[in-house]
Amino acid sequence: MVRAQEAVPAGAVRAVVIGVGNCYRRDDGVGPAAAAEIERQHLPGVRVVISDGEPAGLLEAWAGMDLAIVVDAVRCVPATPGRMHRWPDGQLEGGWTASSHGLGVPAALALARALDRCPRRVVLFGVEAADLRPGAGLSPAVATSLPDVVAAIATELRGAKVPPGRSVRP
């Protein structure tokens, strides 16, 4: 799901929301589900991408963006299913994702840094998963938290500022 870039109004940033995961792995689908909700809001200047976490695709999705918001399921022991975590500036070490897609988001970020393909700012949202077995549909706890996750992403997008010295394309 990639939506064409819309005209960016003055004062807005160019941002991408990347939902990472697999909707056939129950709560691993929370990232794509949140991204789909953001897409329905038709926020100007915001691109929405669904990703399986494959690193080259992530590099493509966020390169050149002012802001990249990545949302994925996380596995925690012990878990509080549905609890949301936010890592500003993408400062997170490896091993956080519940998904099993090649290198993982932290490694993809490190690769992007080595190749100068980072967005100006990265914010990672993780949602603690209850159930990562095969199957469609989120667990009740994660489904209940989904509106809060979407609201947090929308707030992040609204609060994003144009970096100093950067002119925004009309």
Binding site: C23, G57, G102, L111
Partner: protein, 430 residues
């Protein structure tokens, strides 16, 4: 426990698609066991498909694997079309091959540059490789992007393409729409040739596979999206005969099934494809293989990186050939009338043969489904490889031996995410 016992545990097998677990036990200088534990075959999807319409498997099964969705879509379509007695118009079959070329380019480029090459160059991962050889990794990403572009153009998107359907496509492009893609692929051909020259300079440990190799065979071209089956042992059979020759068994250490071919272990994938079909490579690919020192067959798993590079060249050339000869098909899809019956579909996923079987009722609803992914076919041979690699390198320290085991697994590009998630690697020396 003897005085020679050693215990080594490594958590996490990096740079393998998906996650699983490897357990190796060495006792008194002998490899007692080498087991790759895979936790989950695609049985969920097989159960999920029962009762669904004959039109649905391409979209549902493509979700099994994010790395090779076109393979799943193609094998599913091939099986259902066979069950319904439908045959694609030749231009539609060519477009399906073109889409599949995109997946080969993308998947092989990812594996060579981000997963496999660091093993040969002494880097812990692609990030370290990128820090010192940015241009090389950029080349790999550009090549991968060309493959993704094919999938986006023809499939609608690179991940889980949506334009393929039973009988063909939802929409077919006009010839003029191909121009930018053709330009990108012409540039990609140069990158692919550079890739083959580059990987040919790697050092390859000695290891010779003795197993039977199984791949598709096509009488006139390198097999990708369809074909009959052939082995290096001289066996030849049709997709419908696959269940008669290939059976899956439960093994105690894994919930994944291990496949055997007429009772013995066998390997699918690049080595098998190349060894059975190298004379059908496209011209530049055949030349690149010769220049890289490959003979008519390749049985060293470490050299699979060279075969993948050669296959990228072949896929790019094939894609350009198909685009050059393209005329817009009269219709985007052939009519597929469902009827009671069973269909068998095969295709060559980047990492090996992918078999689908569907049994339909008279209304076109699925009564049963079976999927045999390449990784479950290759598991037993990967374990055999590990046993031999360990036996030949027992003098190495634990860290070096573990690294070599990981390399031996990565040689086969196992898509464990087809079959399982969450990998832990442990090596025990007793």
């Amino acid at each position: 426990m003897s005085h020679t016992s050693r215990n080594l545990v490594v958590s996490g097998l990096a740079r393998v698609e998906g996650e699983g677990a490897l357990r190796v036990t060495v006792r008194d200088g002998q490899v007692e066991r080498a087991e790759l534990n895979i936790y989950e075959p695609p049985r969920f999807f097989e159960a999920f498909l029962r009762g669904r319409s004959y039109t649905e498997p391409p979209d549902i099964t493509s979700r099994i694997c994010g790395i090779c969705p076109v393979a799943y879509q193609t094998s599913a379509c091939n099986a259902i079309e066979q069950a319904c007695g439908a045959k694609l118009d030749p231009p539609l079959a060519e477009l399906r091959r073109l889409l599949y070329c995109g997946e080969w380019i993308s998947s092989h480029a990812l594996h060579i540059y981000l997963l496999h090459a660091p093993d040969f160059l002494g880097y812990p991962d692609a990030i370290a490789l990128a820090r010192e050889h940015r241009d090389i990794v950029e080349r790999g990403l550009a090549l991968k992007k060309a493959g993704n572009s094919v999938m986006e153009f023809l499939g609608g998107r690179a991940i889980h393409p949506v334009n393929m359907r039973v009988g063909g496509f939802y929409r077919v492009p006009s010839p003029s729409e191909f121009a930018p893609l053709a330009d990108q692929l012409r540039r990609a051909l140069e990158l692919a040739l550079d890739t083959a020259r580059w990987v040919a300079t790697f050092d390859f440990p000695d290891l010779e596979l003795r197993h039977d190799l199984l791949a598709l065979h096509d009488p006139v071209r390198y097999p990708i999206e369809s074909g009959t089956l052939a082995t290096t042992g001289g066996l030849a059979f049709t997709p419908a005969e696959f269940p008669r020759h290939v059976t899956e068994q439960q093994v105690p250490h894994s919930t994944a099934l291990h496949a055997t071919l007429d009772g013995h272990h066998y390997l699918t994938g690049p080595l098998a494809r190349y060894s059975l079909n190298s004379s059908f490579l496209s011209p530049a690919a055949r030349q690149a293989a010769a220049d890289a020192g490959l003979g008519p067959q390749c049985r060293n798993p470490f050299r699979s990186v060279v075969v993948r590079a050669v296959e990228i060249i072949c896929a790019v050339e094939e894609a350009l050939r198909i685009i050059d000869g393209y005329h817009r098909p009269d219709r985007p899809a052939v009519e597929v009338t469902p009827g009671a019956g069973t269909g068998h579909g095969v295709s060559e996923a980047p990492r090996g043969l992918l078999y689908h079987r569907y049994e339909l009722d008279g209304d076109g609803l699925i009564r049963s489904a079976a999927i045999v992914p390449p990784t479950s076919q290759n598991l037993a041979v990967i374990e055999d490889d590990l046993r031999r690699v360990i036996t030949a390198n027992l003098d190495l320290d634990d860290a070096s031996l573990t690294a070599l085991c990981e390399r031996a697994i990565r040689n086969h590009d196992p898509c464990i995410s087809c079959a399982a998630h969450f990998l832990t690697l442990s090596v025990h020396r007793r």
